[in-house]
Symmetry: C2
């Protein structure tokens, strides 16, 4: 059996007995063509299983590829998976395909992925920046007309369109909710490293809520963890101190898993919890979990819409869009502190 070379435009042309350009015209509905020619060309295309080489086309037209390059810390993370789904929805109508890779939150790996995407001439670049990454090299590309959008976290070294969640106000609302139910000592379980944008913003929101209520900020109530297991440990430590918190705010999905696991393990049903980021089973938990829900799909859709506008020629200045979070009271955040709990400082 022959090596089965893929048929080219020339093969189709030869088969039909026309020039390559004619085949190209038919396929791209470029100039005019007779009905008969069109029919025969399409027949040959189908019979040979011809598929135009998009790369060759791109190279000739000079334009960018029809892909959107997306770099996220982890493709397997449901949050970013939903973001990706939203992007897809938004750019699909424009015929764009999503190309994505995981940086594992490593700036070097992120840079390598970005380079790959640039070499592939993606038409849009979207990045959820790794901690410590720097993006000034992308300025030139943006200037050259390639939309660059930062997601979930702002980038460093350049100004461009950015889509984030309302981390600060969302957290503020969540903490205020706990305060409204009488809590005075509220623990914060955030992720690490502390310079991570989302962590910083959410912690800032936490502090603002305390300040607004005239509550003292106590460092002993702040914990950080890398994953759900260490978040469970951190929770245990928070609760195992003199004058412990009567409520907890968990800073993201993984933290929430750890916090709830520790509360379940120790049988503590008296600790109020508000979680940042919604989880599928939230309403089935006991008590049902009160959350500050993010909208990852909307984050993706917004980013996609901005990119499409930029591609359409929008040259207005870079904007930062904050996608609203939403407090969803379900029970765990409406537990008031009990008499049994130490309730000292106020």
């Amino acid at each position: 059996m022959t090596p089965t070379r893929r048929p080219t435009l020339a093969d189709v042309a030869h088969e039909v007995g026309v020039s390559a350009k004619t085949v190209s015209r038919v396929l791209n509905e470029d100039g005019p063509s007779s009905a008969e020619t069109r029919r025969r060309v399409l027949e040959a295309v189908a019979r040979l299983g011809f598929q135009p080489n998009l790369m060759a086309r791109s190279i000739r037209t000079g334009g960018p590829d029809t892909t959107v390059g997306l770099v996220v810390p982890d493709v397997g993370n449901p949050f970013f998976a939903s973001v990706a789904g939203g992007i897809e929805d938004a750019v699909h109508a424009r015929g764009l395909t999503l190309l994505m890779g995981s940086s594992d939150d490593d700036p070097e790996r992120e840079q390598a992925l970005i380079d790959t995407f640039l070499a592939r001439r993606v038409s849009v670049l979207m990045v959820a920046p790794a901690v410590g990454a720097e993006h000034s090299r992308l300025r030139a590309h943006r200037a050259a007309g390639m939309p660059v959008v930062f997601l979930d976290r702002p980038g460093a070294g350049m100004t461009t369109d950015t889509v984030v969640s309302t981390n600060r106000s969302g957290t503020r609302e969540g903490v205020a909710h706990l305060i409204a139910y009488g809590h005075r000592r509220i623990g914060f379980v955030g992720d690490l490293p502390v310079r991570l944008y989302t962590r910083r913003e959410r912690l800032a929101g936490y502090r603002e809520a305390l300040a607004a209520a005239g509550l003292r900020h106590d460092r002993a109530l702040i914990a950080g963890a890398h994953d759900s297991a260490s978040a469970a440990d951190a929770t245990a430590r928070l609760l195992d101190q003199p004058d412990p918190p009567t409520a907890l705010l968990s800073g993201n999905n993984n933290m929430t898993l750890g916090v709830l696991t520790e509360l379940a393990r120790s049988g503590r049903k008296d600790v109020a919890v508000v979680a940042f980021d919604d989880v599928p089973m939230a309403s089935i938990l006991e008590p049902a979990l009160t959350v500050v829900a993010q909208n990852p799909t909307a984050v993706g859709e917004t980013a996609g819409a901005i990119a499409v506008e930029r591609l359409a020629g929008d040259r207005s200045r870079a904007r930062t869009v904050s996608v609203e979070t939403r407090l969803i009271p379900r029970g765990s955040g409406e537990l008031a502190p009990t008499a049994g709990q130490v309730n000292a400082t106020g």
Copy 2:
């Protein structure tokens, strides 16, 4: 300011005062080059911010692109997100990038995505086939050396490497578990359409377990749903019949959410549940959720590993790999039927 055309190989060559070929040689570590030339070339490359056009290279070398094309029903689904993560892990070392798109379980959309990937000359094609999709057109591409791998569900119209979960034996194990705890009437809440591969396999496993225990198969115990809301309705109907089930097996994540939501709503803590597919918060639920856990990351890694072997020249016949599921008893599956429950047929 000039339109900032992207620098080409020729630009770099001109800058340094050598030929394009020399620059190419340096960059690809092809033939020999003097240390001095190399140094000057690399300097110019860095200064101009040159990035070789991968598409132009591909077109000339004729080889496939360095991407893996992946088509799944929904990028935003955590199961497929984890699969994607596994694939990435497996192919990353080979320098391959993941290109992915959602078919929305629509055969036409799936075909369009596949065509796009083929046109882009991906080096590997992976598909989680939509219901009703047909793939005989891919035979030629596979014959031409492009690895094709089906994921989660087998494809139709061609034979090729396939990676699935042990749906049947996993479900059998889950149902046997319930039987071992004394249940004789076990409901099955599966997804739709009924011809969906995973649904069929899981239902088959359910029946096998009943048969092995000498239990009668009762159609009134089988329900199907499209999403979690309708799964909740289906659950209510299952339980609201004469001689209702004392235990339920839910066929996937979405079904599980519906089943548990209905049980929580109606306050039924006496119904045993085994869920197919693990969920993050399973151990925090009350009772903690017994699951037949899939291993989506392993599914992706396996598929990636097979593809890499194929690219390396493996021409052995197509194989189907079943990734093991694992029964994780946590509580909900170990509830025995109570005296209060009707327990008629046996």
